[in-house]
Amino acid sequence: GESVGLHLPTLSVQEGDNSIINCAYSNSASDYFIWYKQESGKGPQFIIDIRSNMDKRQGQRVTVLLNKTVKHLSLQIAATQPGDSAVYFCGGMYSGGGADGLTFGKGTHLIIQP
C-alpha cells in the first residue's frame, strides 16, 4: 500500500514570506496527489491536486511540485498571510483504484509570525 508522510509537524514563517511544506510517499505506483488545508475546528478543505503526468501545477498563490524520481511533493504558498495559518496535509493514491485508497500524511501546522 501507500505510505505518505510530511517532513515537519510544525512550520513557522514570517507574514509575507513564501512557505514550503514537504511530503514524501513510498509507492511508485501512486499517480494522484492532493493537498488539503484544515483550519482549527473545521473540516479539511481542498487546495490543489496533481497527477503524475505533471511536475508542477499552479493555483491561486499556491504551487504544487512533484518529483517522481525521489517520490516527493511540496506545496508552496506565496506571500503567506495570517489566513494561511492552518494544518496542511497531503494525500496520495493510485488512481486505478477507488478513493478509499487515498492515504494521508499526518499534517504540518503552519504558523504565521507577524
Binding site: F46, D49, A99
Partner: protein, 114 residues
C-alpha cells in the same frame, strides 16, 4: 459547491451508549466515507460505501458499523461507545467522474466519550 453536512459539531456521550453520527451530501455523489482524525495519527478510514446499501471496511472498522439506506446519507454507528473512540470524525464524499479522487469533507464531529 459541494456541501457535506455532519449533523453535530460536538457530541458528548457516556461509555456504553449507542451513538449515531449522521452525514448528508447534496451533490448526488455515489461514494461516501467515514474517517477519524487523531493528533499524531492523521486521517484513518473507518468505512466507506460506493453505492446505496453497500458498505466496505476501511483500515479501522472495529467497534463501528455504518448504514447507507439513501444515496445522500451515510451514518456511522458506535454500537457501544468506549473512551478510545473519543476523536474527530470526518465524513467525505466523491462522485464517479474522472476526478473522483477528490474528497469533499464535512466540518467534522468532535466526539467525547466519558
Amino acid at each position: 459547491d459541494v456541501k457535506v453536512t455532519q449533523s453535530s459539531r460536538y457530541l458528548v456521550k457516556r461509555t456504553g451508549e449507542k451513538v449515531f453520527l449522521e452525514c448528508v451530501q447534496d451533490m448526488d455523489h455515489e461514494n461516501m466515507f467515514w474517517y477519524r482524525q487523531d493528533p499524531g495519527l492523521g486521517l484513518r478510514l473507518i468505512y466507506f460505501s460506493y453505492d446505496v446499501k453497500m458498505k466496505e471496511k476501511g483500515d479501522i472498522p472495529e467497534g463501528y458499523s455504518v448504514s447507507r439506506e439513501k444515496k445522500e446519507r451515510f451514518s456511522l454507528i458506535l454500537e457501544s461507545a468506549s473512551t478510545n473512540q473519543t476523536s474527530m470524525y470526518l465524513c467525505a464524499s466523491t462522485g464517479t467522474s474522472a476526478t473522483n479522487e477528490k474528497l469533499f469533507f464535512g466540518s467534522g464531529t468532535q466526539l467525547s466519550v466519558l
